[in-house]
Amino acid sequence: MSAEPGSTFQSLPVPDADTAPFWEACAEGQLVFQRCAGCGTLRFPPAPVCHRCRSWEYAWEPQDGRGQVYSWVVVEHPIPPSIADEVPYVSALVELDCGVRMPARLVDVGADDMTAGMAVSVRFLHTAPGVALPVFAPDGHQAAPQAPPTGDR
């Protein structure tokens, strides 16, 4: 997939020492997260240390990129005005089956067809030489209903 000029897809991530492996994997069409070597927790966004056990050791692990729509918005007013041709577009918080949540654009789905818990999987959108962004598209079937959240405060 390639992006149109002037689109929000032209927002280029500026990798740093923590995130460079994530973006390099995206450029190769692969979603990777850090798996903590101390306790096995998978984490996102990339971080130097594990939030569960404070281990500084980890390995980047490929993911199948399948998940559900946890929440979504439909952007109708273009910010900035120069991306007027892009709207409306859908931005979502995807909860991957591996337990990590990540924000991403949703593609190949109409705003009116969005449902909570919709099954989606990752695609990679090539926006510039050596740069690809993870986006999600529907899998074509509805996932099982999410269990109600616990631990309410």
Binding site: F9, Q10, L12, W23, F44, W72, H77, I79, S91, P103
Partner: protein
């Protein structure tokens, strides 16, 4: 813990500038004007003010510049907090800590910005920012989540998914605060609004319409926080700081990048913060007479009502739709119109209204017998609160 702080400081002066869409003044001018007014309101000589605090997101002036301009020759305690809702009223808590510990006698707290004529937080000058995503923005900008409204709407949508909150509940928030603003000459947005007006307003980022999003404007607000044992000798009856605090859901992330949260993001910081505030202040939600909730968005009012215990979990929308937050309702909120209708001075204008209410100076807006108030600062998974009382 609570004995070290509660009641040991008081708000003794309040000041502000006119709220406009184009002040024609520098931010430094706005800051100095609001601070000078607060000091005069307290009846304190600026030479006696030995502390100054502000907060902002690179859009306000350095506090010691204001101190210099006001002739604060004994300046000691000085802090510039980077942040918005997550720290807003905590800036007053910080000033309270300084005076309660004896590090300072009188501390000015201000928020000054040309938020409409200058840098706009809402993102309409996002062209530059859009091209590159640094730090945490490298995950949000490419996802098309550029403005605070777009990001906050993701959490609000969760509240709708989980609890059935509707945009008509949002409308009730906006309509209530617009009604409150009718009695406030300082309010910028006073044109009467109905539920239907709200529902017909332009969709910005579904589920947020234009009337769900607070305005941007120019202006400044300031308070003077003084040691409690000196407060009683000043011009007004003191409004004591009974509690202050900040809290977060687990793994709050940055201000709006709450995808790090391990919780359901439908519920905001307030449920975590509330017990700390009530314990410090030695009172509960039923004791609060008047409230200033950080209303950057209508949805934020609903989730904060629930977290602070003014409405049952998931029923904040119904509470508002049933009239609960009206000036004559069970729990008056944003009696001067809030940020949605008065002005967007990042929560400090809401504190000024609480002080007026507790002093008995709110005129037609007065909540009879108001003696305990709560003000909040909201950044979804993180935020702050302030309890004040007579």
């Amino acid at each position: 813990m609570s004995d070290e702080f509660s009641g040991r400081s008081a708000i003794t002066g309040i000041g502000q500038t006119e709220y406009t869409r184009d002040s024609g003044k520098s931010v430094a001018h706005l800051a100095a004007e609001s601070c000078a007014n607060a000091v005069a309101d307290a009846g304190v000589d600026p030479v006696e003010v030995d502390g100054i605090v502000t907060f902002g997101v690179n859009d306000t002036v350095f506090p010691r510049a204001v101190a210099t301009q006001l002739g604060m020759t004994e300046l000691g305690f000085q802090q510039y907090i980077h942040g918005g809702g997550e720290s807003s009223v905590m800036s007053i808590g910080l000033a309270g800590m300084a005076v309660a510990t004896g590090m300072a006698r009188h501390v000015l707290v201000f928020r000054a910005l040309n938020g409409r004529s200058g840098h706009r937080l809402g993102g309409s000058d996002a062209e530059q920012a859009l091209s590159e995503g640094h730090d945490d923005e490298q995950f949000t900008l490419p996802a098309g989540l550029i403005s605070p409204a777009q990001r906050m709407a993701l959490a609000a949508k969760r509240h709708m998914i989980r609890y059935g909150t509707t945009t008509r509940d949002y409308a009730a928030v906006a309509v209530t605060f617009r009604e409150h603003a009718q009695l406030n000459d300082r309010a910028l947005m006073r044109k009467p609004m109905t539920i239907e007006d709200h529902q017909a307003s332009r969709m910005i980022v579904d589920p947020f319409r234009l009337f769900d999003i607070c305005q941007e404007n120019d202006g400044a607000c300031a308070v003077l926080v003084s040691r409690a044992d000196e407060a009683s000798s000043l011009r007004h009856a003191p409004v004591f700081v009974l509690a202050a605090g900040q809290a977060s859901r687990p793994r709050p992330g940055y201000a709006w990048e709450f995808y790090t949260s391990e919780d359901d993001i439908a519920d905001d910081y307030s449920g975590v913060l509330a017990p700390q505030l009530w314990k410090q202040a030695r009172l509960g939600p039923d004791d609060v007479d008047v409230v200033s909730l950080y209303d950057c968005f209508t949805a934020a009012v609903i989730s904060q009502l629930e977290g602070f215990g003014f409405a049952p979990r998931g029923e904040g929308g119904a509470f508002v739709s049933d009239g609960g937050i009206r000036r004559d309702g069970a729990k008056p909120v944003n009696t001067q119109g809030g940020m949605l209708s008065e002005a967007y001075i990042h929560g400090i204008n809401g504190v000024l209204e609480l002080v007026r209410q507790l002093r008995g100076d709110a005129g037609e807006r007065q909540v009879p017998g108001a003696s305990v108030g709560l003000a909040s600062g909201f950044a979804n998974t993180t935020g702050c609160g302030l309890v004040v009382g007579r």
